[in-house]
Symmetry: C2
Subunit: 653 residues, 2 copies
């Protein structure tokens, strides 16, 4: 089939669907739209392209917008066949729409909406038009996402009190459909739950719905259990999802690790659709900090660059930037680091061309808020987050500076990739790194302090983890931090799964794999012991019963399917299987001492490249369909030839 897409102004698709997503949260009957600035899409755009036709041709433009097609000197309505004689012709498609972003589809042999069209918004210079592989047919409307659907029936029904509890095989994002006469539907209320307790608590459960009288359907929501007062009815769940194929597999001799992998994968896929979401029950919002962590899981599970592009564009919004992403200072910085991570992973140059001006203006926005030391400071409405913990946020806050420092370095690399001057950013990186060491490093404590203005010399894991992870701390300081902070029980432990990602990443990167493995088994294994079918926003082994679902002072406030809980995928892939990028290729350096047997597959690029590694306690076999891969085993590097099985014995390096 010839390549033919719906076209729009680049980024507008993401801004529109971002709003659909960020405005979709419902809590106990009221809508709870995300509380940050929601940048809108453009309403009036024009698409242009010049052709030199070798023969007569015809084409037709489809659109739900108001507008016309200008072919040469003549105007035509949408939907009409337009004939062009051979020779040079300029095509302009003018489109305006208020309720959604304008988009157009051009059907034809030669003149058609493939790549190569430019879009204008009457404010900026022309940009390559935006498109998506999900919108390729003229009968579609890119403002209506078409989810894939899978039908589920309850695996168990149970009479409880005055009604029936329906349990599905696993947690879903589904429309529930009750088959019942209209009279019965009229009085029906369906109480949903991620847990049995939640569905049975008619007062406190997060979602409850009166089904539509015509269809018997509820809105799409997170559901594993449903309780319906009254007699049993036929209830089905229509799971709605974006079908992003899994590119990875993981089987080892340890059933617990295998189950952790499976549940993490299910959790991540539920939270990954049009965008990376934090959770499927709550918040259903696109948070930059959560998305940053999802990038790493995505690399080892789906390797889908599309969802990353959509998420990064949605988060960033339009220029000029008027506030931090999600209102959070650190989330602006993590967005930029996410852009770098995305480019390093997928080498996505078209996207970098599009997003670089937004990255550069984000950095300018931040730079306007730096003090004379180059430290990023907060304005009145800025949220200085980093982590839910007792941190000393007086004055410029250390971890923000570590992130900003990393941003300057990332910007230098990205600018140079684009053939621009990176030196201006690199100079800022070096200067800021030096000032961080001067101001925040406490020689006596052998650690970075959170604040140098308060005089409290407060040492936190958060500050020191970021300084290590983003390369602010040199090797000497890194060793001191491991000793004085990470291994020091007097420094308060990390309590949030959000920051656990950074801690486990640093521990693993520092060779503390034993500690990481122990955490996988206890924390994620602990949730499995409680019967988790998806991983939770937070888990405290000491809390049991209904109290374990409580969060933010809300009895069922905790999300039981939360993206950041999927990080075992990344930890197992990156550190235990030992797969990492190397230039444009990859190297795999498995730590087989942790496995008796292993058979795993991981993506190595965003285009279907994979590597499979198997270990039967004696022999390693590896195979890939891509060039540029190597296996590191026992200190020896073996080049992997594409589509050529390779085998060796393994000696623990």
């Amino acid at each position: 089939m010839t390549e033919q897409f719906w076209l729009w102004y680049p980024g507008d698709f993401e801004l529109y669907h971002r709003m659909e997503q960020d405005f979709s949260r419902v809590e106990r009957g009221y809508g709870w739209p995300a509380f940050w600035k929601s940048d809108g899409f453009r309403n009036r755009v024009v698409f242009r392209r010049q052709y030199t036709l070798e023969r007569n041709t015809e084409f037709r433009v489809y659109s739900k917008a108001v507008g016309f097609v200008l072919a040469g000197e003549k105007k035509y309505p949408f939907g009409q066949t337009i004939r062009c004689p051979k020779g040079r012709v300029q095509i302009s498609i003018h489109a305006a729409r208020i309720d959604a972003f304008p988009s157009v589809y051009v059907e034809g042999d030669v003149i058609r909406s493939d790549r190569g069209w430019m879009a204008e918004d009457y404010a900026q210079p022309p940009l390559p038009a935006g498109y998506s592989p999900y919108f390729i047919r003229p009968d579609q409307d890119p403002a209506r996402w078409e989810y894939n659907e899978k039908l589920y029936h309850p695996v168990k029904t149970e009479r409880v009190d005055d009604g029936v509890l329906y349990e599905f095989e696993t947690e879903l994002t589904a429309v529930l459909r009750a088959e019942a006469p209209q009279e019965q539907l009229a009085g029906m209320r369906i109480y949903c739950g991620e847990s049995r307790d939640e569905a049975l608590d008619k007062e406190h459960c997060y979602y409850s719905w009166a089904p539509d009288l015509e269809t018997g359907e509820t809105p799409r929501c997170a559901v594993r259990f449903a309780f319906i007062p009254g007699e049993e009815v036929e209830l089905a769940a229509i799971h709605q999802f974006v079908d992003i194929p899994v590119r990875a597999a993981f089987y080892c001799d340890d059933p617990l690790l295998n189950q952790i992998w499976t549940v993490a994968a299910h959790t991540f896929r539920l939270c990954t659709g049009i965008f990376f979401l934090d959770g499927i029950k709550r918040d259903k919002w696109i948070w930059s900090g959560d998305a940053y962590q999802s990038l790493f899981v995505n690399q080892y599970l789906l390797a889908d660059p599309g969802v990353e592009r959509r998420t990064l564009l949605a988060l960033r919004g339009n220029d000029p930037m008027t506030g931090h992403i999600n209102t959070i200072m650190d989330y602006s910085l993590l967005w930029l680091l996410g852009v770098k991570e995305h480019f390093d992973t997928y080498g996505d140059r078209d996207f970098l061309d599009l997003v670089w001006p937004k990255a550069a203006s984000l950095l300018e926005f931040c730079r306007a808020r730096t003090d004379s030391s180059g430290f990023l400071t907060a304005e009145e409405k800025d949220w200085v987050f980093i982590d839910w913990a007792d941190l000393d946020k007086d004055g410029p806050f250390a971890p923000e500076q570590a992130l900003l420092c990393a941003c300057w370095g990332a910007a230098a690399d990205l600018a140079e990739t684009l053939g621009l001057d990176g030196e201006v950013y690199r100079t800022r990186r070096e200067a800021l790194a030096a000032r961080i060491d001067e101001c925040y490093w406490d020689g006596e404590l052998g650690a970075y302090v959170d604040s140098f203005t308060s005089g409290r010399r407060h040492v936190s894991r958060q500050t020191n983890l970021l300084a290590v992870r983003f390369g602010i701390a040199d090797a000497g300081k890194r060793a001191l931090i491991l000793k004085n902070v990470i291994d020091n029980p007097a420094v308060p432990p990390i309590t949030t799964p959000y920051f656990q990602f950074f801690e486990l990443d640093v521990l693993a990167d520092s060779g503390r794999l034993e500690q990481v493995m122990e955490r996988l088994r206890s924390y994620w294994g602990g949730m499995l012991e409680r019967g988790a079918v998806t991983f939770w926003e937070e888990f405290d082994p000491a809390v049991t019963g209904t109290a374990q679902y409580d969060m933010y002072g809300d009895r069922f406030g905790k999300s039981l399917c939360h993206a950041w809980a999927a990080s075992p995928i990344y930890l197992l892939g990156r550190y235990f299987t030992g797969l990492r990028r190397e230039g444009t290729g990859f190297v795999i350096e498995p730590r087989l001492e942790y496995f008796k047997t292993l058979d795993c597959t991981f993506p190595v690029d965003g285009k279907g490249g994979i590597v499979r590694l198997a270990w039967d306690s004696e022999r390693i076999t590896a195979q890939t369909n891509r060039a540029g891969g190597s296996l590191l085993s026992g200190g020896t590097r073996y080049e992997l030839m594409p589509n050529t099985p390779f085998a060796t014995t393994w000696a623990d390096g």
Copy 2:
């Protein structure tokens, strides 16, 4: 009734309806959305207000947005009755909507959506919420304008060729409704025309419609004649309009002048609704230059400040400004002069508070495009318009500088009204005026030239009229200009009605009332001789037949109902009746030598203030319902006491 409005983020109502308007143009079957940047409304806003309740109260919030009400610490869905105990309470209404701007309505005794709510958009400091007297009931949606309707039946039907021509009493903006069985509707096509010729020309008429099969209705469009092939059907026109009351009347002894007044008033009312439009058939767009002239007619006919506010907000859009209004450099400047004119007329301080930041940023946008002399220069995509005429636009173009100079003066006045520093603007005004005289005044020719860079010394009426009208030319230069330019037949005449406004205004202001009266009779009287029921975009007495409807190379391209053709209202009111503002009051100084008898009423403010003046060839009687008015007659000033008839004889001053 207690005051209760729908509320929205200020300006968003106007931006939304501006798009509805600017995207509504249809030409021979295709949509033709306006070709400039269409700034969107905000999608996520919050409304806040604090109350100190003297007793328990309850309220209810209505909205088509997604969101919730936060009353104190508790959240409530829209539509639910919320009870608040006496004492202090903070109410926040969170609202998000994608397809239109979010709006909310608060019904209650104490807590209700009257004036006093603040709106936030998560980017700027809070602003007083926007509202409109047209949206005051909870069952409304401010995104759907509710037009008033008046039913018209054809005053004449006539069999022509293969069908029937239907003629209505006058030109309308109407939905046509054909009463016929569905089979007949299915094959029906309705051809519309502002003229008989247009409706009968099935190929070239601007609008033709297939009526809706269910209702028999066409879209709303400009129509006076309709042609339907086939047998005669019941055809009705549902005229849809915004009911803005006329505050003026004009009757004199000359039937021609009376008819000019009547037709001009009808023309203006058709073009004035949610916004000032240029014309009702074409473009149906909101043009700043056209709107500027409409301000002057409005003062003397409707005195409706609301349509001015809506138009000015719609034109200006959001900050930051990225291009000139309607893409036209002079239209940005005329917008600012319009803000000044609006404030001077209505003393509308709330509006000035809202619009001043937009005025200041518009001026900054322009100033960034000035050269070292302070002359405004054009960038690549800027349209330097001024007039359709042979002008010398080389280098900085003189009339743009005259407008900019006037803008600096206007900004100084407005800033000082707001208690801000006006001196910075006034200094720029003086400096620019001096540079204009240095660079553009040609002492030998005794006139301003269009360009000082081309060396062509081209003298135009346009440049010199603006220099006079906006006070750049001092009294000496003004006299020279009248002699060397205005009275000089070698200088090409004004050919567009658009610029005729400026020419007649300057002539009248220079005491050349005889010339103005002659033009009223010949130009507007000439259209009446052709049977005009509304005044045209352009009129050339030398052209007859179907050719008289031709414009822009389009057989029926000319608009036959065009706002700028309504300027006789202003000319008769301002100069012949002699009503003008004076401080916060008014003075009326009639030129009764042009009338045998006269009985006219004009608005003197935007709140129902009027003055009535009658003249029976001997006695003048005057009456007003407002304080601060005077009659000037025979060099004597008579103070008019409110609601107290005053009479005197008249002696020609």
